[in-house]
């Protein structure tokens, strides 16, 4: 027995019920992914001006001309993608390393001030980013004079509190006995971390890597603030430029949007498990 009746004596009723549910869910799912479908379909249309566009939800034509148009629009189109890749990859790697180290210390090592420090980190997650944006901008641009550099794009997110929290939560569940026996075998703390804790935390590290990469790839606000030439912009900011410069050419705009979203779609479909797992790792236990 469960929430739904099994209709044990009457499989027909069960099939009908599940079919109705399936259709309802499918209809809503179609509405949900319609924008994405529409984006991809439209990007294969001819790059004609808006006035001449027929808004159609079925592909009338299949051409890569709009993608070519997008890349021809700016000599920096490829550079935007490269910048995004550089920034997202660096942020991902540094987060996995430093958040896992901090997570290990907060979950397994005893040191003075551990509790209060972790509490401060937790509380800081509640602070809206609007509070830090102005001082952070002043710090990076006016004090460090790093505007328009990779350092400015990367440094503020080198390790996030959320990832430390994620690592700590996961590593707390690793039994202490494993570490104790390693200690007796003569492992140093770093060896314990490197050889025992990290291999046991593979799943959460993968989740962390993927979600961090996604956040960094999709981030728009900070790169918008700290870049001021086209060659240092990321794809998200570049896409915005393109939109304002070319609001009349819709198919190439959709091509640009598709390009900016495509890497995440590919990652999602190949590593779906980690994406979906990541959602529940951070949430409270049900």
């Amino acid at each position: 027995m469960a929430l739904y009746s099994n209709h044990a004596g009457n499989p027909k009723v069960k099939t009908t019920r599940n079919t109705i549910i399936f259709i309802a869910l499918l209809l809503f799912a179609l509405a949900t992914i319609f924008p994405i479908y529409f984006m991809v379909i439209s990007s294969f249309a001819d790059p004609v001006e808006a006035g001449a566009v027929s808004y159609s939800i079925l592909p009338s034509k299949f051409t890569f001309a709009s993608f070519k148009f997008f890349f021809d629009y700016s000599e920096y189109s490829y550079r935007w993608i490269l910048n995004s890749l550089i920034v997202a990859t660096t942020v991902m790697i540094s987060n996995v390393i430093f958040a896992s180290m901090a997570g290990y210390a907060f979950s397994k090592l005893r040191f003075k001030g551990r509790g209060p420090l972790f509490a401060v980190l937790l509380v800081s997650m509640m602070i809206p980013y609007q509070v830090t944006q102005v001082p952070l901008y002043i710090l990076v641009v006016n004090v460090f004079e790093l505007q328009n550099t990779y350092s400015a794009l990367i440094m503020p997110s080198i390790v996030t509190v959320y990832n430390i929290f994620l690592a700590k939560q996961f590593m707390s569940s690793i039994p202490n006995e494993i570490m104790e026996s390693a200690k007796i075998e003569g492992c140093s703390q770093f060896e314990i971390y490197w050889r025992i804790i990290l291999p046991l935390s593979k799943t959460v590290l993968a989740v962390m890597a993927i979600l961090t990469f996604m956040d960094s790839w999709n981030t728009f606000f900070w790169p918008l603030l700290v870049t001021n030439t086209m060659d240092m912009q990321t794809i998200q900011v570049g896409l915005k430029n393109f939109r304002f410069a070319n609001t009349t050419f819709i198919a190439p705009m959709m091509a640009g949007a598709t390009i900016s979203a495509l890497p995440m779609f590919i990652l999602f479909f190949s590593l779906q498990r980690y994406f979906l797992e990541g959602v529940t790792v951070g949430a409270v236990k049900g």
Partner: protein, 300 residues
């Protein structure tokens, strides 16, 4: 003997402590530099008329001026309206979807999970570009075509102050429940069948089971999603910035956008900092209230 044992123990802990600090060093420096310092700095800036070369101390002027500013309250009102229209509806929708997914086969479940999660993965800028075109005000706009089919007339969705907010809300309704569906589904799968069995023995029907078992069991998840949803919604910036720019007539100016404009369009850093701290206090207050009233009988 006791002395030696004591000193050995102390040395071990001391060594562990040093390792502890070494392991958190980078995280701590990054946190101090990019979170703690900016928060303190925001407070200092909020008390000044900030100029790159020599600021003037103005006390609480930035706060009092903001609290007297009609646009600030308008933005607060817009943000509140947006929150009230999106957060509860999104929670309800995702709970309903999660419940509906439950009886289907594992493969079908995974299929729907993936489809509903897909918009979460897409970049916000890309989605806003697509939605701009969906809301195209011309007759050929997809959404206008759709509502004409149901007998409504053309609307200038994002360009008219009566429909702009609704357009942003609709966009949220259709693109942001992937995460909550998966959290709810995890909660649903964690409910012990024994509860349903007991309810069935008492003659409970499907809706009574939802009312007396499912909803209480999902309460921790709901509280989590409610609090994080409200916090996120109060910081909304990107959609308003990219889709409407806060217009028309400030109908979609959210607090996040107002603070951004004050800071990076008018370079009124002091005012922006003061408003951001007011926002922080409001968010903290709302979170506390939610925990107090909704969290009463939630155990973690």
């Amino acid at each position: 003997m006791a002395n030696i044992a004591g000193s050995i123990k102390r040395r071990r802990i001391k060594g562990e402590g040093a390792w502890g600090y070494a392991f958190i060093a980078v995280a701590l420096v990054a946190f101090a530099m990019f979170t703690a310092y900016p928060v303190v700095s925001a407070f200092m800036i909020s008390l000044q008329e900030y100029k790159p070369l020599g600021s003037t101390y103005v006390g609480l002027d930035n706060y009092t001026n903001s609290l007297k500013d009609a646009l600030f309250w308008k933005a607060m009102g817009n943000t509140l309206l947006y929150t009230v229209l999106t957060v509860p509806v999104n929670l309800l929708l995702s709970m309903a979807i999660a419940i509906l997914i439950l009886p289907l086969r594992k493969k079908t479940q995974s299929f729907f999970k993936a489809v509903y999660y897909l918009p979460v993965v897409a970049s916000g800028v890309a989605l806003s570009v697509v939605w701009l075109w969906i809301f195209d005000p011309m007759e050929g706009g997809i959404f206008n075509q759709l509502i004409r089919f149901f007998g409504f007339s053309n609307q200038n969705w994002l360009g008219s102050s009566s429909t702009a907010m609704f357009s942003l809300v609709l966009m949220s309704w259709l693109s942001s429940h992937g995460t909550s569906i998966i959290i709810y589904l995890a909660g649903l799968l964690g409910i012990d069948d024994a509860y349903y069995e007991a309810a069935e023995l008492d003659g409970a029907n499907f809706f009574q089971k939802i009312r007396y078992i499912v909803i209480p069991a999902l309460k921790p998840a709901t509280l989590f999603l409610l609090v994080t949803g409200v916090i996120a919604s109060f910081q909304v910036f990107q959609n308003a910035y990219l889709m409407t720019g806060g217009g028309p007539n400030n109908a979609t100016t959210m607090v996040g956008l107002l603070i951004f404009n004050n800071a990076f369009t008018y370079f009124e850093f002091g005012k922006a900092a003061a408003q951001s701290l007011i926002l922080a206090v409001i968010i903290a207050g709302i979170s506390v209230i939610q925990f107090k009233y909704a969290g009463k009988d939630v155990e973690y």
